[in-house]
């Protein structure tokens, strides 16, 4: 079987390790697309190494599942970017790289000039990308932010939870992840453009920006009707049904966004008499005023069947209904196994299952995931083999806390 070249074969990336998972996620996706990614950590190690979980709950910088999940297939060196020598080494590496990824943590290194004008002047072919909660420039650019602040400012939190209760943030990594995707997309577009004119670029990716665009149609509704989408508990939209319903062995989601879907649902459940009740004809009205009434009527049918039985029937009838799965139900799911979706790592004797790229490719390239780097694992490879430092140089750097 032919192995095609990887999409990003020959592209070399430097990632200045950040505590923001967006930067790690971006670097990892580039690695999965075939780029060679070098992670540059401070000598004490990136913050994600100290974020669990750990085996048996005992912290250890080489045993963090979070670090492994976000940093597999990268090489790693240590550099103290607070020192002139550390920054010099970075400059030399940048001169031989196509892409630089960094995030808010890099701002702490005074003396490290990563400003767009400066980078583009010194490295005209470099594609640099910043990924963070509020972006590289703007009034809130220096604000601290994790998934909670991203969800809040980005407009996601206002749409999660019960209407009269506290709005909810996004699960860990989900808010930040969108900045990672934006950085990757920006880098790829810039690399493509560079093929034509030889010029690099500086990508400014903000997680809260991305979430603000995810409102989509609600933006239009706001512009024309002055109303804004707000959380409605377990209801997704303004039509009916768009509900989470209990069934025999768990929960399913039912979303009939278009009239023909409701018709098919009615047929599937055997057209019970209540469907023809005048009270339930205007489904928008039902959704706005008494959805729980029809939820109860629908539930009578759904509670006779399991999630998988219902989903199988829904597929046959072409209706949008599906199980609400928990995370731990996915790793062994027959469909996802068929799709070869997951990557599996040996994490201290246990399997760590991680989502892979969300697509299958016909002209696929070979990708064998390697574990995340040990702290400073490739120091000698890079410092000696690539940059030509002597062993004495390396020992001095070590003693001076440069690596």
């Amino acid at each position: 079987m032919t192995a095609y070249p990887a999409f990003l074969e020959g592209i070399r990336v430097i990632e200045i390790a950040d505590d923001d998972p967006a930067v790690a996620y971006a670097g990892r996706i580039l690695a999965q697309l075939g780029a060679e990614v070098l992670l540059v950590e401070p000598p004490e190690g990136n913050g994600l190494r100290y974020q669990g979980p750990f085996p048996n709950g005992i912290p250890h910088p080489e045993k963090s599942a979070a670090f492994l999940a976000l940093n597999f297939s990268k090489s790693g060196i240590t550099l103290n970017l607070r020192t002139p020598t550390g920054r010099q080494v970075l400059q030399r590496l940048l001169a031989e790289r196509d892409v630089l990824l960094f995030g808010p943590s890099a701002r702490a290194y005074r003396g490290l000039d990563l400003a767009p004008d400066s980078l583009l002047a010194r490295y005209p072919r470099l594609v640099a990308a910043f990924a963070g909660p509020f972006g590289y420039e703007g009034e809130w650019a220096t604000w601290r932010g994790s998934d909670l602040e991203v969800a809040a400012a980005g407009g996601a939190a206002i749409g999660i939870g019960h209407r009269r209760e506290a709005p909810l943030g996004l699960p860990p990594g989900v808010g930040a992840g969108q900045a990672g995707l934006a950085a990757v997309a920006g880098v790829l577009a810039s690399l493509y453009a560079r093929e034509a004119d030889g010029q690099g670029d500086f990508v400014d990716a903000s997680a809260s920006d991305v979430w603000a665009t995810i409102h989509c149609n609600y933006i239009t509704t706001y512009v024309y009707r002055g109303v804004t989408g707000v959380r409605m508990g377990n209801r997704a939209g303004a039509h009916y049904p768009d509900s989470i319903l209990p069934c025999k062995d768990g929960q399913i989601i039912v979303d009939c966004a278009r009239p023909e879907m409701w018709e098919r649902l009615v047929a599937m459940i055997g057209h019970p008499a209540w469907v023809d009740n005048p009270r339930y004809q205007d489904r928008r009205y039902v959704g706005e005023h008494y959805p729980e009434e029809v939820d109860a009527l629908l539930s009578e049918w759904f509670k006779e069947y399991t999630r998988e039985e219902i989903w199988a029937m829904a597929r046959a009838h072409h209706i949008p209904i599906a199980p609400v799965y928990a995370i731990d139900e996915l790793a062994g799911h027959p469909h996802l196994l068929y799709r070869d979706f997951f990557l599996s790592f040996n994490w201290e004797g246990r399997p760590l299952t991680v989502p892979g790229l969300p697509y299958n490719l016909t002209n696929a390239f070979e990708f064998v995931a390697s574990p995340s780097p040990r702290l400073g694992q490739h120091n000698l490879d890079i410092l000696e083999d690539e940059l030509g430092y002597s062993r004495d140089d390396v020992i001095r750097m070590r003693a001076a806390g440069v690596i």
């Binding site: 999409f7 697309l33 599942a65 979070a66 999940a69 009034e139 220096t142 994790s146 909670l148 602040e149 991203v150 809040a152 400012a153 407009g155 206002i158 749409g159 999660i160 209760e165 506290a166 709005p167 909810l168 943030g169 990594g173 992840g177 997309a185 790829l188 577009a189 810039s190 493509y192 453009a193 400014d204 995810i214 409102h215 989509c216 933006i219 239009t220 706001y222 024309y224 989408g229 959380r231 377990n234 989470i244 979303d255 989903w311 597929r315 072409h318 209706i319 995370i327 139900e329 996915l330 469909h335 068929y338 246990r350 760590l352 991680v354 989502p355 969300p358 697509y359 490719l361 016909t362």
Partner: protein, 414 residues
């Protein structure tokens, strides 16, 4: 001068509704010429629905499908043609277009492009460098490939739904946004750009079989890490494993219960700073709350005390004051707040777009910006049905005006 990275790239766009069109609109913003293929036999659902503006007397059977504003954002920069590929001639015209483009995109149910005679095995023979992408609910094959996909379905299947909810109840499983669609479109953009990069260098094309379910699961690495440790991840409200306070708190405003601010403390120093900003001297001096463990233990009392203070403060002012003192915080914003925000104005997240039917309106821009490309460009408004038939079939395929008219009358360019 704004650089358009995809200038010269042509996309044949069979996408409809949300996930696919989000992807092709980003490609268009980046400079690609996106040819949106539609048919009056089954019109793109996003051309309908509320709010309808313009000539409302026409209802859904008249002109409404050309002016309904949902599509103004989704279809900007795209050329619009009508083409009925269910006819022999229509299919042949589609294949001629495939020879002229770099990308073919769809988000039909699994197997549809094959059934139409436009599957990858056919199209790669016409155009070996072609990058083709199909976005479907669960992929083109597999036990559940016949699923119907909508945004909330993808979120529920992905495990993300199970993480949305309060500590003491079943998962709410939904968000009021279009994440299940936009996130899939975003992964699609990444895959297309990467494949185009390889195709440009090597002449090798690609077929990208993207699953909306898998796209929604991507990004959940941290919960999967917890699962590996045996900590089955579940919804926990705004509770955090080791940070307290951590959550959203009521803020002042005209509408009761509408305004909130998010805040948290990672360190004891931040806790002291929070107390200063909220003027909670008694709390700052209370030994029970001095360290994280104590704050975690007495979370409920802490939250009540903080809420009693935050409810008198305007959310942007309070978040700004907290951030200035090193405390992570942000206002819980809705779309109106974002439109009014100086930060978002500077970021240019929303851009003014012009459409003949309504004049100027604000639409979402490309989700990221760059120095050379800004947020791409807005070059032409969303098309009404068949607006660009002459541009595409005439200029690209060399058809005469008479030929185009005849095909329109025959129901081929329809």
């Amino acid at each position: 001068m704004t650089r358009l990275p995809l200038e010269g790239v042509k996309v044949l766009d069979f996408c409809w509704v949300m996930a696919g069109p989000v992807m092709t609109s980003m490609l268009g913003d980046l400079g690609a010429e996106v040819i949106k293929v539609e048919t009056r036999r089954r019109m793109d659902a996003i051309r309908f629905g509320r709010p309808v503006v313009g000539d409302t007397s026409a209802g859904d059977q008249g002109k409404a499908q050309d002016i309904q504003p949902f599509q103004h954002a989704m279809h900007r920069n795209k050329l619009g043609v009508t083409l009925n590929v269910a006819t022999t001639e229509g299919l042949e015209i589609a294949r001629r277009l495939v020879a002229e483009v770099d990308v073919v995109a769809d988000n039909f149910s699994a197997g549809t492009m094959d059934r139409l005679g436009l599957g990858y095995s056919e199209l790669r023979a016409i155009n070996p460098k072609l990058v083709m992408i199909s976005i479907s609910a669960a992929g083109q094959s597999g036990p559940m490939h016949a699923s119907v996909s909508l945004n909330p379905i993808a979120v529920a299947l992905s495990g993300l739904g199970s993480l949305l909810g309060y500590e003491d109840g079943p998962p709410l499983a939904v968000m009021r946004n279009f994440y299940g669609d936009t996130n899939a479109g975003f992964h699609g953009v990444i895959a297309v750009l990467a494949a185009l990069f390889r195709a440009r260098r090597t002449g090798i094309g690609e077929y990208i079989d993207l699953s909306q379910w898998e796209a929604s699961t991507s990004g959940l690495e941290l919960p999967f890490a917890e699962a590996a440790a045996g900590n089955a991840p579940r919804a926990a409200g705004n509770r955090h494993g080791w940070q307290a306070p951590h959550g959203t708190y009521p803020a002042a405003g005209e509408r009761p219960g509408w305004n909130w601010v998010a805040l948290r403390c990672e360190t004891d120093d931040q806790w002291q700073a929070l107390c200063r900003v909220l003027q909670l001297d008694a709390l700052a001096a209370d030994a029970r709350f001095a360290h994280a463990l104590g704050r975690l233990e007495h979370r409920d009392e802490l939250d009540r005390a903080i809420a009693a203070a935050t409810q008198h403060r305007e959310k942007v002012e309070l978040a700004t004051a907290l951030q200035a003192n090193g405390v992570p915080a942000a206002p819980v914003m809705d779309i109106g707040d974002q439109f009014a925000s100086e930060h978002f104005r500077q970021r240019r997240v929303f851009t003014e777009a012009h459409h003949d039917s309504v004049g100027y309106e604000l639409v979402q821009a490309l989700p990221w910006r760059t120095v050379r490309s800004e947020r791409g460009t807005f070059r032409r408004p969303a098309p009404y049905m068949g607006r660009d038939n002459r541009t595409v079939f005439g200029e690209m395929l060399g058809m005469t005006e008479a030929e185009i008219e005849a095909l329109e009358a025959k129901g081929v360019l329809y």
